[in-house]
Amino acid sequence: MRLVCIVCPNSCLLEVEKTDAGVKVTGNKCKRGITFAIEEVTAPKRSLTTTVRTVFENFPVAPVRTNGEIPKEKIPAVMAYLKTVVADKRYKAGDVICGNVLDTGVDIIITIDMDQEG
């Protein structure tokens, strides 16, 4: 099976083979490709970046991201949940706005300093 590693912009083309000894991966330029391939064929994960609404007129939405990866199939549920979240104070980049989102063990963090002009 062929997969493209999405961990870094190199986009290595990975050849993944399931053998008795486990999963065999070739084509990776670095070892992160192996971890990626094994996860991708067992339980694929993605990071998620989006925005949440705020209460500030001059800053209508604030960018957020997961501070780790979440199961790919949970993305729609997390998106739906984040539609209900409103940033009601001037967070700083890195601040957690929702901890352990939907029990994924991953937090949602703000990725900008909201106290800037604009």
């Binding site: 986009s11 990071s47 970046t49 957020v64 800037q116 002009e117 604009g118």
Partner: protein
């Protein structure tokens, strides 16, 4: 005496890094930015993937910019003027910059100038689409601004023209926000964006990618109602009988970026037709002494990490004292482009950093650098693709009058 040792035009990642490097070397530095916040295009790049090379982390564009903004704000040697638009530059023994803002018209003088004013997007008008001019046709960057900065969804049923990274990232973003992306159409037979973006932005969301197809016509009065798509051959000519009408309310055009160089051209700074940015030496100094060009106005970068790196090179040089240059042309073959295009023999470091894009996809490629016909450096590449910019450090110390040539060869991939 000039008001500032270095004036940086543009407060995106290039301008921020250039200003920090100049000010760290003691130069009194000013950043002029037309928008109300620093960060440039990264303000709206909420997706991650920035900073892998520089910080070894996958940051969002906003976070990457924030790291530099924090340092700029804390630096005593840097002043920032926001909501200030540079409209004119005149050259005498120093540079006189005219800018407009709510304070009125200001004149600022500088010993050195650093252009860091980015690029602009090619629009639907520039790609020859026929039909009416309805609302709902916009560039990917404009769509990104709507969604990520204003929190507004530009449409519900979207067609994307162009498979560049910005278009791919917007396909995913619009889908996550609840719009339907009907397809991405690319006139060329290969996608222009990174493969990882095809996978994580299109495949993950079952968005079809149609190669060798383009948008021929738009329909709609007031608002866009449909587009006509059509197959094209490898000469980019429409193939009759392949037309298809797709009802949609939004067409997002992502067909490339063009370095913004109107101000540089007004100073008669020569531009390289390959990069569409100025010719520069290894310090990113243009052919006009004291004027530097960095970031996307120099050439369109796909990785911001390299934007910061070159901007720092320019910033350090702009903090130094002016010295006459001995410029040597670099000859090139096999490249879409190669930067820098010149070497200043009087300020050579042991190694010079070059950035290049191959002219066509190649396998088992070799980069050879020769001085007077003798190979002084050689590097092999498994794969080279035009959308992926390469960085290479080359030890070079040619003498005046010698011929330096960069030569890229390898099997062409169809």
């Amino acid at each position: 005496m000039a008001d500032y040792k270095a004036v940086v035009i543009g407060g995106g990642p290039a301008g921020l890094a250039a200003a920090l490097a100049a000010a760290d070397k003691g130069a009194g530095t000013l950043i002029i930015e037309r928008e109300n916040r620093l960060g440039g295009i990264l303000k709206q790049c909420i997706h991650d993937g920035f900073g892998v090379i520089r910080f070894g982390e996958k940051l969002s564009g906003c976070e990457y910019a924030q790291r530099f903004i924090d340092k700029v704000k804390a630096h005593p040697g840097i002043e920032v003027r926001l909501l200030t638009f540079v409209i004119d530059i005149k050259k005498s023994d120093i540079f006189t910059i005219t800018a407009t803002s709510s304070r009125g018209i200001e004149t600022i003088t500088a010993e050195n100038l650093i252009f860091a004013n980015g690029c602009r997007e090619r629009t639907a008008r520039q790609v020859n689409i026929h039909g009416t001019r309805p609302a709902g046709v916009m560039t990917a960057g404009v769509a990104q601004n709507y969604v990520n900065l204003q929190g507004v969804l530009p449409g519900k049923r979207c067609v994307i023209l162009g498979s560049g990274d910005i278009g791919l990232i917007m396909a995913r973003r619009l889908t996550l926000e609840g719009a339907r992306v009907l397809g991405v159409y690319e006139a060329k037979s290969t996608p222009s964006g990174l493969t990882r973006n095809i996978v994580q932005c299109l495949h993950d969301f079952d968005i079809p990618l149609h190669l060798s197809k383009t948008v021929k016509r738009v329909f709609g009065h007031g608002r866009l109602e449909a587009v006509e798509v059509c197959s094209v051959n490898d000469k980019m000519e429409y193939i009759d009988g392949t037309e298809e009408i797709i009802p949609c309310d939004t067409l997002i055009v992502s067909v490339g970026l063009i370095p913004e160089n109107e101000l540089a051209e007004s100073l008669n700074i020569p531009l390289d037709p390959r990069t569409r940015g100025p010719f520069v030496d290894q310090n990113m100094m243009t052919l006009e002494d004291g004027v530097y060009s960095v970031g996307n106005c120099l050439h369109v970068h796909d990785l911001v990490d390299y934007v910061s790196e070159t901007a720092e090179t320019a910033g350090r040089a702009a903090a130094g004292s002016k010295a006459p240059r001995e410029l040597l042309d670099i000859e090139q073959e096999g490249f879409l482009y190669l930067v820098p295009q010149k070497l200043d023999l009087d300020s050579l470091a042991p190694e010079t950093v070059f950035y290049f894009r191959t002219a066509m996809p190649r396998e088992a490629a070799t980069l050879d650098v020769t001085v007077d016909g003798e190979v002084v450096f050689s590097k092999k590449y498994q794969n080279l693709k035009p959308p992926e910019m390469e960085r290479v450090e080359v030890p070079l110390s040619p003498k005046k009058g010698q011929t330096v040539k960069f030569f890229l060869s390898g099997r062409e991939v169809k």
